[in-house]
């Protein structure tokens, strides 16, 4: 009975959304006249920010405040879980996984780690970026914990988790401080393209002003934060 109500509610909400979207979708040809800022990004994005990947240049240069908000959200979540879910025991696996799984996962994990750092380092050249690479690095820790079953004693687990939280906090601080370079140079907070310090031409690995540094900080922060969340949740009780 309750499922029926939920389905009816979802259908009503979807119809309302569609009714709202009809005037936008019906004059599809006029959308280009409305989208002036996106035209500006497409035409002048590379020369203004120095990064080929326009998504990264919008995320970290034009709309850097949004990225700061996302990292603050992850930071608050990590802080809350660190306080609330205190790890007491090491997580013990009951040998569910067969040796085939263990061997294949231990062969895959170095390449996953390398792929994560590739995504972070080439975030301004190809699809990817700090968030994606950071989550991929956290996935390697999660795979290690799930497949092999980390059985730390209490003090050792504490120390490792504290060092990971420290890495996460330092990366968050580094992101904000490298954003303040813009203020020190007399421009806005979190600005990299206006500073005029694009080392090398667009398309090289070392280019794009401060965008690679932002990517590195966000990647370290998300990777450490996600693994801290997972470890705290799995080692509780």
């Amino acid at each position: 009975m309750r499922k029926g109500y939920i389905v009816v509610l979802i259908l009503i909400l979807a119809t309302l959304l569609m009714i709202n979207l009809v005037p936008v979708l019906s004059n599809f040809n006029n959308l280009n006249s409305l989208a002036t800022s996106s035209q500006h990004y497409i035409e002048h994005g590379i020369e203004e920010t120095g990064s080929i990947n326009l998504v990264t240049s919008i995320l970290l240069d034009y709309r850097g405040f949004d990225t700061l908000g996302e990292t603050i959200v992850i930071f608050i979540v990590v802080s809350t879980i660190t306080v609330l879910a205190v790890p007491n025991l090491g997580y013990r696996n009951d040998n569910i996984c067969s040796p085939i799984v263990k061997q294949s996962i231990s062969m895959i994990i170095p390449f996953l780690y390398l792929l994560g750092f590739y995504l972070i380092a080439y975030g301004h050249l190809s699809p990817g970026g700090g968030f994606t690479g950071g989550v991929l690095i956290a996935i390697t820790f999660i795979l290690l914990a799930v497949i092999f079953g980390v059985g730390y004693i209490k003090a050792e687990a504490r120390r490792e988790l504290i060092s990971r939280s420290l890495i996460e906090n330092l990366a968050a601080l580094g992101f904000v401080i490298s954003g303040m370079v813009g203020i020190a140079a007399g421009y806005n907070f979190l600005s990299s393209g206006q500073l005029g310090l694009s080392f090398g031409s667009p398309g090289n690995l070392v280019s794009g002003g401060l965008i690679p540094i932002f990517n590195l900080m966000i990647g370290i922060k998300i990777g450490a934060g996600m693994s801290v969340i997972f470890s705290h949740l799995i080692k509780e009780e």
């Binding site: 499922k3 939920i6 389905v7 979802i10 990947n53 998504v55 990264t56 995504l119 699809p127 990817g128 970026g129 968030f131 994606t132 989550v135 991929l136 956290a138 996935i139 999660i142 799930v146 996600m226 997972f230 949740l233 799995i234």
Partner: protein, 78 residues
Amino acid sequence: MRIMLYILLLFTLISAFYAVLTSNLINSIIGLSIFSFNLIVIFLILQAPDVALAEVIISSGITTVLFIITLDKTGGSL
């Protein structure tokens, strides 16, 4: 390509309803995984590889693992 996009949208809708309405939690997680897979192919068709990559790693990777481990720890129907 447009017909394929419509078929994928239909599959997305079906898998989303299945993930919400089924009573077995493991089936619900599998439905969510299929939903995110359809969404990945839709993003690739719409030429958004950045969002597709994030969707692959976050939705197919970390969300499924976290849900399954949570079910395992809380003693759900695993």
